[in-house]
């Protein structure tokens, strides 16, 4: 992504914040609920400088990354099996479809009992929420693999493990990568939700304490910060994806 595209992407948020500032100064927006941007930004900088912002961010990202990684470690192999082995799919599809609609927030009371207030608590709820998109995207990516490719693996005399590792997995990777990226967004959303609702850690808890102590400007500072962190991570993931899947984009642009 070029600097020019980043600037273009910033145009709308900057305009939005400017409008917010103007409306808040004109008292169209109530200053009790909508702090001015010119107050929110210094509040954020103060939180950054005294270290709390980064400490809270580390807690949230720690949970989100752990949950996401667990979901990937479980979801990708499971998705490969579901996509490649018909009997396995018949065995598990009903279970998957029954578990998938369970709201991840419904797990909060359970994991609270198991883990207490901890990293593991947010991470396990995030893992549950991330598992489904990763699982479903992997399964469908595997089903979409060109059958000829798998046959080439067979014709060359490779065993099943080698065919999955060296043929099915790379062939499904462009699809899986999208699933991983979507899932990471979900991991952050769910982690912050759990922090707001129950777990006294991280950015979500920082927001709720700021709100309860009637410091709206701090609350907004955290909210904007969450958006910024999410955006930066997404850009980083898209870049990594492009680099790792160079062949995919090279082929797409050649056609």
């Amino acid at each position: 992504m070029t600097a020019r595209r980043i600037l273009l992407g910033l145009a709308f948020p900057v305009a939005f914040l400017a409008l917010w500032e103007i409306l808040a100064r004109a008292e169209v927006l109530s200053n009790d609920t909508f702090s001015r941007i010119s107050i929110i930004v210094p509040a954020g900088v103060a939180a950054l400088l005294d270290g709390t912002l980064l400490a809270r961010t580390a807690e949230t990202l720690g949970s989100a990354i752990l949950g996401w990684a667990i979901a990937a470690a479980a979801g990708i192999p499971l998705g490969l099996l579901l996509g490649l082995v018909r009997p396995f799919e018949r065995l598990l599809s009903a279970t998957v479809e029954a578990l998938r609609p369970v709201p991840s927030a419904a797990l909060i009371p359970i994991v609270l009992l198991i883990y207490g207030f901890s990293l593991a608590m947010s991470a396990s709820v995030a893992a549950f929420a991330c598992l489904w998109p990763i699982l479903i995207v992997t399964t469908s990516a595997v089903r979409g693999i060109e059958p000829r490719l798998l046959e080439v693996g067979r014709a060359l005399g490779f065993g099943a493990v080698r065919r999955i590792w060296a043929f099915a997995l790379p062939a499904a990777l462009p699809g899986i990568a999208v699933g991983l990226r979507v899932a990471f967004g979900i991991a952050i959303v769910v982690t912050v939700t759990v922090e707001i609702a129950a777990n006294p850690r991280g950015l979500g808890y920082a927001m709720i304490t700021a709100q309860q102590s009637l410091r709206a400007e701090v609350m907004y500072a955290y909210l904007f910060w969450i958006g910024l962190v999410g955006w930066v991570i997404n850009v980083a993931m898209v870049r990594t994806e492009r680099r790792a899947l160079r062949w995919y984009w090279a082929a797409r642009s050649a056609q």
Binding site: L156, W247, A251
Partner: protein, 269 residues
């Protein structure tokens, strides 16, 4: 030399001086209740270039898949090196018609060729040099680092042929490899594969629906008829080598073969 039943079969249709390295022994295949192949039997001598020709739906591709060990026949057997083919082995290489799907798009040209070296367990140290040598003989040295889908169809098919050669197969099975290429590319690849296979003393079974291609390339042409697929004629091709796209195709003998085989290719029940 004692003649095995396969050699006798081969001898009846075409006098061969060496025992077959590969043969079909009464191979029958059904898909559900539909018979696809009916008691196919013929042998392939070492270094021989055998072309299988027949109308679409005569089961040529199925027969090749039986030969490769990708499917098992309901009756009869494909015999390779004295044993029934039960599963694929790197000793049998197969070149598919749909090159763009048969190449691994995430591996470079060199990486695709190297795959076959990995498959036959070639020592790691010599792989790069071997890949380079193969890309050299197939004319792809300049494209080693490209991805397959960045190449033209003809070049992609060359990659697949290089990969098959990298297996050092004792038998190369080719399934209409030039079927989806334009006429000019097809002719140059025909000449190249003919030259290469003779130079490398490669045994080949080559499936095509193009009668002239079969005669042009083959030492022997096996004609199949459809519904169900069965061998109707086996012809020795006594055209001199190296063959030439102009003079060979105008050779009176070429035309005679063409006449003899032509009616087999017309669709009839």
């Amino acid at each position: 030399m004692t003649l095995s039943p396969d050699a006798a079969l081969g001898a009846a249709a075409a006098p061969r001086d060496r025992a077959p390295i590969f043969s079909f022994r009464d191979v029958s295949v059904r898909f559900g209740a539909t018979p696809i192949l009916d008691k196919i039997g013929f042998g392939v001598a070492p270094e021989e270039f055998v072309c299988l020709v027949g109308p679409s739906g005569c089961g040529k591709t199925t027969l090749l898949r039986v030969a490769a060990g990708l499917i098992r026949p309901q009756a009869g057997e494909a015999i390779f090196d004295g044993r029934a083919v039960e599963r694929p082995t790197p000793e049998l290489a197969i070149v598919f018609q749909d090159y763009s799907r048969a190449l691994l798009p995430w591996r470079t040209v060199a990486g695709n060729v190297e795959l076959a070296l990995e498959a036959r367990g070639a020592p790691r140290a010599g792989r790069a040099a071997e890949v380079e040598r193969l890309l050299g003989i197939i004319g792809l040295s300049a494209h080693a680092a490209k991805f397959p889908l960045q190449l033209s169809g003809g070049m992609q098919q060359r990659v697949q042929i290089a990969r098959a050669l990298a297996q050092r197969p004792r038998l190369m099975l080719m399934d209409e490899p030039f079927g989806s290429l334009d006429a000019m590319t097809r002719q140059s690849l025909q000449d190249e594969i003919a030259r290469l296979c003779k130079a490398e003393r490669q045994t080949v079974v080559f499936v095509t629906h193009d009668l002239e291609e079969a005669i042009y390339l083959g030492d022997r042409v096996v004609a199949l008829r459809a519904n169900p697929g069965r061998v109707v004629e086996i012809i020795d091709i006594a055209l001199p080598r190296p063959r030439d796209q102009l003079t060979t195709r105008e050779h009176p003998q070429f035309l005679e073969y063409r006449h003899r085989l032509f009616h087999h290719l017309r669709d009839r029940l």
